[in-house]
């Protein structure tokens, strides 16, 4: 299997994120076991696996969202551009700017559409004046395909949009702070097929400038949007490699069973 790497294999050349020997515990209970994976830059990596296998846990390790869960402890390393994100001197706010996140349920702030997108740039001081801020907001709404739909109601609350529009607003909010990586945890599970197709198209577009890691339960979605796929099972990373390889000839029986819809 030329393109398939096992969980222990080392190194691809264009990795932006690299997890090594990652163990995660919630209290006494271990949720991830020695996960090692490279996330290639400006490509889309899909994380798949049965419910409870640790996909969200792993995703949250990539921008230290797990820090907010008191019982959660982590061993091992996650590097971004070669620097350990769990090192003592890391500025977590800055880390989360570089590694943004989009959640399963669209969660716009209870603010106007404009302010939803402007929020990040404001707190990170990314715009010198109102003109620059406008520019950021407009260009992010434009890139997520929302501008045409909301141009004349930028003052309306973000929550007044449809589910699919809200999710694209959340993506606009995520890219407004110029992140390097965008983490998405089942971003389309609450959307209809048309809204899903829009988000998928948007991901393809975003891939030119950003690295995307997406958790999805939809095998066809993983196959459609990603270049790399990682299969998790019971807290271990069973297999990861080129998406095409994983969906045509996976090397592990567990992967095969899962993606073809069989009992394990």
């Amino acid at each position: 299997m030329l393109d398939t790497m096992t969980a222990t294999a080392t190194g691809i050349s264009n990795a932006i994120l690299r997890a090594k020997n990652l163990d995660v515990f919630y209290g006494e209970k271990q949720a991830l076991f020695s996960v090692g994976i490279d996330i290639p830059e400006r490509e889309i990596t899909a994380l798949i696996g049965p419910s409870g296998c640790g996909k969200s846990t792993f995703l949250r390790c990539l921008n230290r969202m797990n820090d907010t869960i008191p019982s959660c402890t982590i061993r091992g390393t996650v590097e971004i551009g070669g620097h350990d994100i769990y090192a003592r001197d890391v500025d977590v706010v800055e880390l989360r700017r570089r590694v943004g996140m989009v959640f399963q349920k669209p969660n716009p702030f209870p603010k106007s559409i404009y302010d939803n997108v402007a929020y990040g740039p404001r707190i990170h001081g990314l715009a010198a004046d109102k003109g620059e801020l406008d520019e950021i907001v407009y260009s992010c709404l434009e890139r997520t395909g929302l501008l045409g739909e909301v141009r004349d109601r930028l003052d309306a609350p973000g929550t007044s949009l449809s589910g699919g529009q809200q999710q694209r607003l959340c993506i606009a909010r995520a890219i407004a702070v110029s992140p390097e990586v965008i983490l998405m945890d089942e971003p389309c599970s609450a959307l209809d097929p048309i809204a899903t197709a829009r988000v998928e198209e948007l991901m393809e577009e975003l891939r030119r400038n950003y690295t995307i890691v997406i958790v999805t339960h939809n095998m066809q979605q993983a196959a459609r949007v990603s270049q790399h796929t990682a299969f998790f099972h019971l807290g271990t990373l069973v297999e990861w490699g080129a998406t095409e390889q994983i969906f045509t000839s996976p090397s592990d029986e567990r992967t095969q069973g899962y993606i073809t819809g069989r009992y394990g």
Partner: protein
Amino acid sequence: MTSEHIVKSYDAELNHLNETILKMGGLAESQLAEAIKAIATRDPELAMETVRGDPRIDALEADIDHQAVRLLALRQPMARDLRNILAALKISSAIERIGDYAANVAKRAVTLSESPPVRPAGTIPRMGRLVQRMIKDVLDAYTEGDAEKAKAVWARDHEVDDIYNSLFRELLTYMMEDPRNIGPCTHLLFVAKNIERIGDHTTNMAEIIYFMVTGNTLLESRPKGEDASFAHPEPPQKDGGDGR
């Protein structure tokens, strides 16, 4: 296949597809057997019956196309299942070709039964048995998902080529000896060529099955016998022959 799908009707549909392939393959195998028997026994009735049997194979191919398209659209198959369905599509078109070649052999059996017998005709059943055996084994490899069995069939293609090459030389010699042999010998040559092509399609099926089971291709090039296209047989000695 190791275990069952959570959705039972999916298994039922895949099984039905695989059964249709076997039915189609079995039919092509018996069409070939009948066509060769018609040559060996010089039986134009049997030959005509065989020719009339071909549309049944074509109908099964259409059935398989339909099933495969439906499975692809409704089940969105992945991995081994996906390879299985693609294999079924390719195998059914290989079997359809085999059916055509068998029908062509049968048509020539009609003509051959009307011309005087020539001795090399005796080699045809031997070649036919070999290829029939390969078809049977390749269908078994498909049913059992046995990559090694498929590989063994694949490796046997050169035996067919070898018989074909020696028959080719023999036929040329006969034709040079006596121009009256040219008619029947040419038909036999086409018959042999058709059987040789059936061997090629069978080998091709073996490759498809190997990929279906393992996800890998049979990379090494198949052992190839001598190529008859480049054969230059010596003309027979004209020492005191009937000098025509």
